[in-house]
Symmetry: C2
Subunit: 185 residues, 2 copies
Protein backbone atom coordinates (compact mmCIF):
# COMPACT_ATOMS: atom_id res chain seq x y z
CA UNK A 1 0.00 0.00 0.00
CA UNK A 2 1.35 3.24 1.11
CA UNK A 3 4.69 4.89 0.97
CA UNK A 4 2.84 8.17 1.45
CA UNK A 5 0.70 8.84 4.45
CA UNK A 6 -1.72 5.96 4.71
CA UNK A 7 -5.53 6.13 4.52
CA UNK A 8 -5.67 8.85 1.91
CA UNK A 9 -9.29 7.94 1.27
CA UNK A 10 -10.27 8.34 4.89
CA UNK A 11 -8.45 11.64 5.12
CA UNK A 12 -10.29 12.97 2.12
CA UNK A 13 -13.64 11.92 3.52
CA UNK A 14 -12.93 13.61 6.84
CA UNK A 15 -11.59 16.72 5.13
CA UNK A 16 -14.67 16.90 2.95
CA UNK A 17 -17.12 16.57 5.82
CA UNK A 18 -15.25 19.25 7.74
CA UNK A 19 -15.13 21.66 4.82
CA UNK A 20 -18.73 21.09 3.79
CA UNK A 21 -19.71 21.84 7.38
CA UNK A 22 -17.53 24.92 7.60
CA UNK A 23 -18.13 26.61 4.25
CA UNK A 24 -20.89 24.63 2.60
CA UNK A 25 -20.79 22.14 -0.24
CA UNK A 26 -20.77 24.57 -3.13
CA UNK A 27 -18.17 26.88 -1.66
CA UNK A 28 -15.84 23.95 -1.26
CA UNK A 29 -13.84 22.96 -4.33
CA UNK A 30 -12.38 19.56 -4.94
CA UNK A 31 -9.00 21.26 -4.71
CA UNK A 32 -9.78 22.46 -1.17
CA UNK A 33 -10.60 18.96 -0.04
CA UNK A 34 -7.52 17.51 -1.65
CA UNK A 35 -5.32 20.18 -0.15
CA UNK A 36 -6.57 19.59 3.38
CA UNK A 37 -6.15 15.87 2.89
CA UNK A 38 -2.61 16.38 1.64
CA UNK A 39 -3.12 15.03 -1.86
CA UNK A 40 -3.74 16.33 -5.35
CA UNK A 41 -7.08 17.18 -6.88
CA UNK A 42 -6.41 14.47 -9.44
CA UNK A 43 -6.03 11.93 -6.67
CA UNK A 44 -9.37 12.97 -5.23
CA UNK A 45 -11.05 12.08 -8.50
CA UNK A 46 -9.22 8.78 -8.63
CA UNK A 47 -10.89 7.79 -5.36
CA UNK A 48 -14.32 9.30 -5.91
CA UNK A 49 -16.18 9.45 -9.19
CA UNK A 50 -17.47 12.87 -8.24
CA UNK A 51 -17.38 15.52 -5.60
CA UNK A 52 -20.67 14.32 -4.14
CA UNK A 53 -19.64 10.73 -3.86
CA UNK A 54 -17.27 11.47 -1.01
CA UNK A 55 -20.31 11.70 1.27
CA UNK A 56 -21.69 8.31 0.24
CA UNK A 57 -18.78 6.00 0.68
CA UNK A 58 -20.50 3.49 2.92
CA UNK A 59 -23.64 2.89 0.91
CA UNK A 60 -22.16 -0.10 -0.82
CA UNK A 61 -21.74 -1.82 2.52
CA UNK A 62 -25.35 -1.06 3.43
CA UNK A 63 -26.59 -2.63 0.24
CA UNK A 64 -24.56 -5.74 0.88
CA UNK A 65 -25.71 -6.11 4.48
CA UNK A 66 -29.31 -5.56 3.46
CA UNK A 67 -29.06 -8.22 0.79
CA UNK A 68 -27.43 -10.72 3.10
CA UNK A 69 -29.96 -10.20 5.87
CA UNK A 70 -32.79 -10.94 3.48
CA UNK A 71 -31.05 -14.06 2.25
CA UNK A 72 -30.61 -15.19 5.84
CA UNK A 73 -34.20 -14.49 6.84
CA UNK A 74 -36.59 -17.41 7.50
CA UNK A 75 -37.93 -18.74 4.23
CA UNK A 76 -41.54 -18.50 5.32
CA UNK A 77 -41.36 -14.79 6.07
CA UNK A 78 -43.68 -12.88 3.72
CA UNK A 79 -42.08 -10.45 1.22
CA UNK A 80 -42.64 -7.18 3.02
CA UNK A 81 -41.48 -8.61 6.34
CA UNK A 82 -38.36 -10.02 4.76
CA UNK A 83 -37.62 -6.71 3.10
CA UNK A 84 -38.00 -4.94 6.43
CA UNK A 85 -35.57 -7.36 8.04
CA UNK A 86 -33.15 -6.25 5.36
CA UNK A 87 -33.46 -2.52 5.89
CA UNK A 88 -33.28 -2.96 9.65
CA UNK A 89 -30.00 -4.80 9.20
CA UNK A 90 -28.77 -2.08 6.87
CA UNK A 91 -29.81 0.56 9.36
CA UNK A 92 -27.80 -1.17 12.06
CA UNK A 93 -24.67 0.06 10.34
CA UNK A 94 -25.66 3.61 11.28
CA UNK A 95 -27.43 2.92 14.53
CA UNK A 96 -24.53 3.81 16.80
CA UNK A 97 -23.43 6.89 14.91
CA UNK A 98 -26.38 9.20 15.41
CA UNK A 99 -24.21 12.25 15.76
CA UNK A 100 -22.30 11.62 12.56
CA UNK A 101 -25.47 10.74 10.67
CA UNK A 102 -27.14 13.92 11.81
CA UNK A 103 -24.23 16.12 10.76
CA UNK A 104 -24.11 14.43 7.40
CA UNK A 105 -27.85 14.76 6.88
CA UNK A 106 -27.70 18.46 7.64
CA UNK A 107 -25.19 18.89 4.84
CA UNK A 108 -27.16 16.84 2.34
CA UNK A 109 -30.51 18.34 3.22
CA UNK A 110 -29.68 21.84 2.06
CA UNK A 111 -28.14 20.89 -1.27
CA UNK A 112 -30.33 19.69 -4.13
CA UNK A 113 -27.43 17.99 -5.82
CA UNK A 114 -26.62 16.00 -2.74
CA UNK A 115 -30.26 15.09 -2.17
CA UNK A 116 -30.28 13.83 -5.71
CA UNK A 117 -27.32 11.60 -5.02
CA UNK A 118 -28.93 10.34 -1.84
CA UNK A 119 -31.99 9.36 -3.84
CA UNK A 120 -29.78 7.41 -6.20
CA UNK A 121 -28.30 5.54 -3.26
CA UNK A 122 -31.76 4.78 -1.91
CA UNK A 123 -32.72 3.52 -5.34
CA UNK A 124 -29.72 1.22 -5.11
CA UNK A 125 -31.07 -0.06 -1.84
CA UNK A 126 -34.41 -0.72 -3.51
CA UNK A 127 -32.67 -2.69 -6.22
CA UNK A 128 -30.64 -4.70 -3.73
CA UNK A 129 -33.76 -5.48 -1.73
CA UNK A 130 -35.82 -6.45 -4.76
CA UNK A 131 -33.01 -8.68 -6.02
CA UNK A 132 -32.80 -10.45 -2.69
CA UNK A 133 -36.55 -10.96 -2.62
CA UNK A 134 -36.60 -12.39 -6.10
CA UNK A 135 -33.85 -14.76 -5.04
CA UNK A 136 -36.26 -16.13 -2.43
CA UNK A 137 -38.88 -16.73 -5.07
CA UNK A 138 -40.93 -13.55 -4.80
CA UNK A 139 -42.32 -12.68 -8.21
CA UNK A 140 -42.59 -9.30 -9.88
CA UNK A 141 -44.10 -6.85 -9.35
CA UNK A 142 -44.47 -7.93 -5.73
CA UNK A 143 -40.71 -7.94 -5.18
CA UNK A 144 -40.25 -4.39 -6.42
CA UNK A 145 -43.27 -3.10 -4.54
CA UNK A 146 -42.19 -4.70 -1.29
CA UNK A 147 -38.69 -3.32 -1.80
CA UNK A 148 -39.96 0.17 -2.48
CA UNK A 149 -42.22 0.00 0.56
CA UNK A 150 -39.46 -1.19 2.86
CA UNK A 151 -37.08 1.51 1.70
CA UNK A 152 -39.83 4.11 2.08
CA UNK A 153 -40.26 2.94 5.65
CA UNK A 154 -36.52 3.25 6.11
CA UNK A 155 -36.48 6.77 4.70
CA UNK A 156 -39.30 7.99 6.89
CA UNK A 157 -37.87 6.31 9.97
CA UNK A 158 -34.38 7.57 9.27
CA UNK A 159 -35.57 11.14 8.81
CA UNK A 160 -37.38 10.97 12.12
CA UNK A 161 -34.44 9.37 13.88
CA UNK A 162 -31.94 11.88 12.58
CA UNK A 163 -34.00 14.90 13.56
CA UNK A 164 -34.71 13.61 17.06
CA UNK A 165 -32.96 15.42 19.89
CA UNK A 166 -32.81 12.47 22.18
CA UNK A 167 -31.93 9.64 19.82
CA UNK A 168 -34.25 6.63 20.10
CA UNK A 169 -33.21 3.31 18.58
CA UNK A 170 -33.26 3.42 14.80
CA UNK A 171 -34.68 -0.10 14.68
CA UNK A 172 -37.61 1.04 16.82
CA UNK A 173 -38.26 3.94 14.47
CA UNK A 174 -38.32 1.51 11.58
CA UNK A 175 -40.70 -0.85 13.37
CA UNK A 176 -43.01 2.03 14.23
CA UNK A 177 -43.09 3.28 10.66
CA UNK A 178 -43.68 -0.24 9.40
CA UNK A 179 -46.67 -0.58 11.69
CA UNK A 180 -48.14 2.64 10.29
CA UNK A 181 -47.57 1.41 6.75
CA UNK A 182 -49.40 -1.85 7.42
CA UNK A 183 -52.32 0.04 8.89
CA UNK A 184 -52.72 2.09 5.71
CA UNK A 185 -55.81 1.60 3.59
Amino acid sequence: MGRWEPDARGRMIRAAVELFGERGFEQTTAGHIAERAGVTERTFFRHFTDKREVLFDSTGAMDRVTREAIEAAPADLPPLSAALVGVVAGGDLLADRHEHAARRSRIIEVNPGLRERELLKLAGMVTATADALRARGVAEPAASLAAHSAVAVFQVAFAHWVSAEDPPALADCIEAAAAVLRALE
Copy 2:
Protein backbone atom coordinates in the same frame (compact mmCIF):
# COMPACT_ATOMS: atom_id res chain seq x y z
CA MET B 1 -42.92 37.78 -26.08
CA GLY B 2 -40.55 37.13 -28.86
CA ARG B 3 -39.24 39.14 -31.72
CA TRP B 4 -37.18 36.15 -32.79
CA GLU B 5 -38.65 32.83 -33.81
CA PRO B 6 -41.28 31.96 -31.25
CA ASP B 7 -41.31 28.93 -28.93
CA ALA B 8 -37.60 28.88 -28.34
CA ARG B 9 -38.19 26.66 -25.32
CA GLY B 10 -40.09 24.08 -27.34
CA ARG B 11 -37.46 24.10 -30.05
CA MET B 12 -34.73 23.46 -27.54
CA ILE B 13 -36.64 20.57 -26.00
CA ARG B 14 -37.21 18.98 -29.36
CA ALA B 15 -33.61 19.55 -30.43
CA ALA B 16 -32.38 18.01 -27.20
CA VAL B 17 -34.51 14.88 -27.50
CA GLU B 18 -33.37 14.44 -31.09
CA LEU B 19 -29.70 14.87 -30.28
CA PHE B 20 -29.80 12.69 -27.18
CA GLY B 21 -31.40 10.00 -29.30
CA GLU B 22 -28.90 10.39 -32.14
CA ARG B 23 -25.61 10.74 -30.29
CA GLY B 24 -26.40 10.08 -26.66
CA PHE B 25 -26.70 12.44 -23.73
CA GLU B 26 -23.04 12.76 -22.86
CA GLN B 27 -21.87 13.26 -26.42
CA THR B 28 -24.29 16.13 -26.79
CA THR B 29 -23.12 19.49 -25.52
CA ALA B 30 -25.39 22.31 -24.48
CA GLY B 31 -23.94 24.20 -27.41
CA HIS B 32 -25.12 21.53 -29.84
CA ILE B 33 -28.65 21.76 -28.56
CA ALA B 34 -28.66 25.53 -28.70
CA GLU B 35 -27.26 25.53 -32.20
CA ARG B 36 -29.91 23.18 -33.54
CA ALA B 37 -32.57 25.25 -31.82
CA GLY B 38 -31.17 28.42 -33.33
CA VAL B 39 -30.22 30.12 -30.09
CA THR B 40 -27.14 30.70 -27.98
CA GLU B 41 -25.78 28.38 -25.35
CA ARG B 42 -26.39 31.15 -22.85
CA THR B 43 -30.05 31.22 -23.79
CA PHE B 44 -30.30 27.49 -23.20
CA PHE B 45 -29.19 27.99 -19.62
CA ARG B 46 -31.62 30.83 -19.17
CA HIS B 47 -34.48 28.45 -19.90
CA PHE B 48 -33.17 25.35 -18.14
CA THR B 49 -31.23 25.27 -14.92
CA ASP B 50 -29.18 22.38 -16.24
CA LYS B 51 -28.59 20.26 -19.28
CA ARG B 52 -30.63 17.45 -17.74
CA GLU B 53 -33.61 19.58 -16.95
CA VAL B 54 -34.55 19.89 -20.59
CA LEU B 55 -35.93 16.35 -20.39
CA PHE B 56 -38.11 17.08 -17.38
CA ASP B 57 -40.02 20.14 -18.39
CA SER B 58 -43.48 18.76 -17.72
CA THR B 59 -42.97 17.39 -14.24
CA GLY B 60 -44.24 20.56 -12.63
CA ALA B 61 -47.57 20.07 -14.33
CA MET B 62 -47.75 16.49 -13.12
CA ASP B 63 -47.17 17.55 -9.56
CA ARG B 64 -49.92 20.14 -9.79
CA VAL B 65 -52.43 17.77 -11.35
CA THR B 66 -51.62 15.12 -8.76
CA ARG B 67 -52.13 17.58 -5.95
CA GLU B 68 -55.41 18.87 -7.34
CA ALA B 69 -56.81 15.39 -7.90
CA ILE B 70 -56.16 14.50 -4.29
CA GLU B 71 -57.80 17.69 -3.11
CA ALA B 72 -60.82 16.90 -5.25
CA ALA B 73 -61.09 13.29 -4.09
CA PRO B 74 -63.98 12.25 -1.79
CA ALA B 75 -63.18 13.21 1.78
CA ASP B 76 -63.89 9.73 3.11
CA LEU B 77 -61.36 8.05 0.85
CA PRO B 78 -58.59 6.48 2.95
CA PRO B 79 -55.04 7.91 2.57
CA LEU B 80 -53.55 5.32 0.23
CA SER B 81 -56.59 5.33 -2.03
CA ALA B 82 -56.57 9.11 -2.22
CA ALA B 83 -52.88 9.11 -3.03
CA LEU B 84 -53.49 6.61 -5.80
CA VAL B 85 -56.22 8.80 -7.25
CA GLY B 86 -53.57 11.48 -7.41
CA VAL B 87 -50.93 9.50 -9.25
CA VAL B 88 -53.51 8.14 -11.67
CA ALA B 89 -54.49 11.69 -12.52
CA GLY B 90 -50.84 12.63 -12.90
CA GLY B 91 -50.30 9.63 -15.12
CA ASP B 92 -53.16 10.70 -17.35
CA LEU B 93 -50.94 13.48 -18.64
CA LEU B 94 -48.73 10.85 -20.24
CA ALA B 95 -51.35 8.26 -21.05
CA ASP B 96 -51.78 9.19 -24.70
CA ARG B 97 -48.11 9.67 -25.46
CA HIS B 98 -46.76 6.16 -25.06
CA GLU B 99 -44.36 6.52 -27.96
CA HIS B 100 -42.85 9.72 -26.68
CA ALA B 101 -42.64 8.40 -23.13
CA ALA B 102 -40.88 5.26 -24.33
CA ARG B 103 -38.29 7.19 -26.31
CA ARG B 104 -37.65 9.47 -23.40
CA SER B 105 -37.32 6.57 -20.98
CA ARG B 106 -34.82 4.87 -23.22
CA ILE B 107 -32.62 7.95 -23.04
CA ILE B 108 -32.91 8.32 -19.30
CA GLU B 109 -32.47 4.65 -18.53
CA VAL B 110 -28.91 4.43 -19.80
CA ASN B 111 -27.57 7.53 -18.10
CA PRO B 112 -26.98 7.56 -14.34
CA GLY B 113 -27.14 11.32 -14.22
CA LEU B 114 -30.53 11.37 -15.87
CA ARG B 115 -31.82 8.59 -13.66
CA GLU B 116 -30.72 10.67 -10.74
CA ARG B 117 -32.72 13.61 -11.97
CA GLU B 118 -35.73 11.41 -12.56
CA LEU B 119 -35.54 10.25 -8.97
CA LEU B 120 -35.54 13.86 -7.85
CA LYS B 121 -38.69 14.49 -9.85
CA LEU B 122 -40.32 11.41 -8.35
CA ALA B 123 -39.34 12.69 -4.93
CA GLY B 124 -41.11 15.91 -5.84
CA MET B 125 -44.19 13.87 -6.63
CA VAL B 126 -43.94 12.22 -3.22
CA THR B 127 -43.77 15.63 -1.59
CA ALA B 128 -46.73 16.94 -3.56
CA THR B 129 -48.74 13.87 -2.67
CA ALA B 130 -47.86 13.96 1.00
CA ASP B 131 -48.69 17.67 1.17
CA ALA B 132 -52.09 17.05 -0.40
CA LEU B 133 -52.79 14.23 2.03
CA ARG B 134 -51.86 16.33 5.01
CA ALA B 135 -54.20 19.00 3.72
CA ARG B 136 -57.01 16.47 4.04
CA GLY B 137 -56.08 15.79 7.64
CA VAL B 138 -53.85 12.76 7.27
CA ALA B 139 -51.21 12.82 9.99
CA GLU B 140 -47.52 11.99 9.75
CA PRO B 141 -45.98 9.57 9.18
CA ALA B 142 -49.04 8.08 7.48
CA ALA B 143 -49.13 10.85 4.88
CA SER B 144 -45.53 10.34 3.83
CA LEU B 145 -45.82 6.58 3.81
CA ALA B 146 -48.98 6.62 1.73
CA ALA B 147 -47.34 9.09 -0.65
CA HIS B 148 -44.22 6.98 -0.99
CA SER B 149 -46.32 3.87 -1.59
CA ALA B 150 -48.47 5.52 -4.23
CA VAL B 151 -45.46 6.86 -6.10
CA ALA B 152 -43.78 3.46 -5.86
CA VAL B 153 -46.88 1.97 -7.46
CA PHE B 154 -46.67 4.62 -10.14
CA GLN B 155 -43.01 3.87 -10.81
CA VAL B 156 -43.53 0.15 -11.12
CA ALA B 157 -46.61 0.57 -13.27
CA PHE B 158 -44.95 3.18 -15.46
CA ALA B 159 -41.91 1.01 -16.04
CA HIS B 160 -44.13 -1.87 -17.08
CA TRP B 161 -46.27 0.34 -19.29
CA VAL B 162 -43.31 1.91 -21.04
CA SER B 163 -41.63 -1.38 -21.82
CA ALA B 164 -44.80 -3.01 -23.12
CA GLU B 165 -44.92 -3.63 -26.86
CA ASP B 166 -48.65 -3.35 -27.16
CA PRO B 167 -49.42 -0.45 -24.84
CA PRO B 168 -52.16 -1.19 -22.31
CA ALA B 169 -53.84 1.66 -20.45
CA LEU B 170 -51.49 3.28 -17.96
CA ALA B 171 -54.33 3.61 -15.45
CA ASP B 172 -54.90 -0.14 -15.63
CA CYS B 173 -51.23 -0.79 -14.96
CA ILE B 174 -51.44 1.43 -11.92
CA GLU B 175 -54.55 -0.30 -10.63
CA ALA B 176 -52.94 -3.70 -11.10
CA ALA B 177 -49.80 -2.67 -9.24
CA ALA B 178 -51.90 -1.15 -6.49
CA ALA B 179 -53.73 -4.43 -6.06
CA VAL B 180 -50.44 -6.27 -5.68
CA LEU B 181 -49.26 -3.74 -3.13
CA ARG B 182 -52.39 -4.18 -1.02
CA ALA B 183 -51.95 -7.93 -1.09
CA LEU B 184 -48.45 -7.66 0.35
CA GLU B 185 -47.76 -8.99 3.82
